[in-house]
Subunit: 337 residues, 2 copies
Amino acid sequence: MTTLDIMPENTANTVTPETMQAIVQTEEKVTASLELQEVPVPTLKSGEVLVEVKAAGVNRADLLQTQGNYPVPPGASEILGLECAGVIVDAGDTDRSIGEEVACLLTGGGYAQFVAVPQGQLMPIPNGYSFVEAASIVEVACTVWSNIGMLAGLKEGDLFLIHGGAGGIGTFAIQMGKALGATVAVTAGSAEKLETCKELGADILINYKEEDFAETLKNQADVILDIIGAKYLAQNVKAMAKDGHMVTIGMQGGVKGELNLGHLLAKRGTISATALRGRDVEDKARIVRSTVDNIWPLLNNKKISHHIDHTLPLAQAAEALQKLQEGTVTGKLVLTT
Amino acid sequence: MTTLDIMPENTANTVTPETMQAIVQTEEKVTASLELQEVPVPTLKSGEVLVEVKAAGVNRADLLQTQGNYPVPPGASEILGLECAGVIVDAGDTDRSIGEEVACLLTGGGYAQFVAVPQGQLMPIPNGYSFVEAASIVEVACTVWSNIGMLAGLKEGDLFLIHGGAGGIGTFAIQMGKALGATVAVTAGSAEKLETCKELGADILINYKEEDFAETLKNQADVILDIIGAKYLAQNVKAMAKDGHMVTIGMQGGVKGELNLGHLLAKRGTISATALRGRDVEDKARIVRSTVDNIWPLLNNKKISHHIDHTLPLAQAAEALQKLQEGTVTGKLVLTT
């Protein structure tokens, strides 16, 4: 299916085909309509390298995108996939090397055999990691570190509240919080999920179905990582300590909530809401650099582990997203080429 | 009235009286009940100096306090007054010098002949400033710099939106914004007030009675200094640029507003609400140090000027607050001893 026998004139030192297999959505808003198709290999812009994808991480944002609920940023690939690991096959005009194994933060395009990656979004493969493991860690590491480390400035001794502690973001955030010396509190919806959080190091376990986290943690949370949004807004402000900082990165509980600025002011509190994908190339490079500096040592030293639920061939992308939607996945799904 | 003839045993090298004149509120929630009374001179805690007050700035928070709407932080003086200038008359256990002229950030106690001040809250008198001028600049400088410089990180090229541009906070913030290289937009309620803002350097003038600032500045404001609160919450988020930061320091337009976290996330926006008074001694010292480092050079070089409406004797504190409430004051009111 690939065309490895064709060598374009402008890539004298590499053998890059002109077409590749990639996941294409054939029907708008229908996740099940994803299928493998032959499409052109991306053309490199200045500062980009071409990576042959070995493994691509599956994210909830991919699911939302197939449902028409996550618009592709202007200029980004229409192909799904926000993270991958693989091998550089064309270094373009950069000083990177062909054959270099890399993990990549993507703005799209990971569900394919090849993807064009700005060099600032390349990361080393953590020590002892397979391509599958490396592909599964990029988005979560950059997301959690950029929000909790870089933006909210979590530090030793802080109380760090994580909503959805047993999810992909949560399990990573618990370990990162502990590695940074924070006391970690988590919310989750079952004893089993809380047990998972406990095993990862969480200190305070709150079953949100049985307990009001805001009452338990009133005025105590220095940093809050929120994926719920509106539904928890007032409670998060109540749980906040003086100079607390809450960062919302998901809105599973709605977007519109009442904010009492008087309560926020009494805490000298800060509320941020962010997303990684829409950031520009310079901003992503800044985040990738800081994440590699601060989080890669924790991965290399196995201070943070990461659970792969299972892998599926790239051709079964629709099935992977279906599983994600069913909510039965307890770790990361990764597609392999 | 003072008792300068009495020299307590524990202050061998100074002549500090045991009592002093200070403004005392005799009837709860009645601003007009302020009167000069003889009260004990404050006792110094470790790290504090005793300052003989020459001039004390009048702030809106003082008015709110007399009305019962601004609780005194635990441990703070019940006497009004958040800023003053004067002379050190007892250095306590610090290495400051008796006779040193200082401006002071206070947690209370400025409406008096003497006030105890943590050494971290002492600032030099800016070059060429009188005591009256120095006493009028402390709160506004520390408030604006700590929020806009330290917290929101205003930088060259930013668009800086200031609500209430013609007020005490606003007029200072305009000049600071221009000195830092920002483009300054202001809202105010009359052509006359906007003219004042323009003379101070404001680039974009918006009469909020005639124009929707959020429409005019949609997606443009990098930093917003807000004194309105709930009433402007949605509009401020609309006016915010990518990575924008809004800081609320007043709530003249109410405390409860609807926050659309989806809109905030689309901007990767941040909302903070803060107050200076409740911060602890270490935090105030950190702010004072940074304010002196960053703002004092602008005062010394006359890059920022400050308008004194007029001065009144300390005994007329009630009258001063009455004028503030009437809303006819266009500059700062200062009490002199």
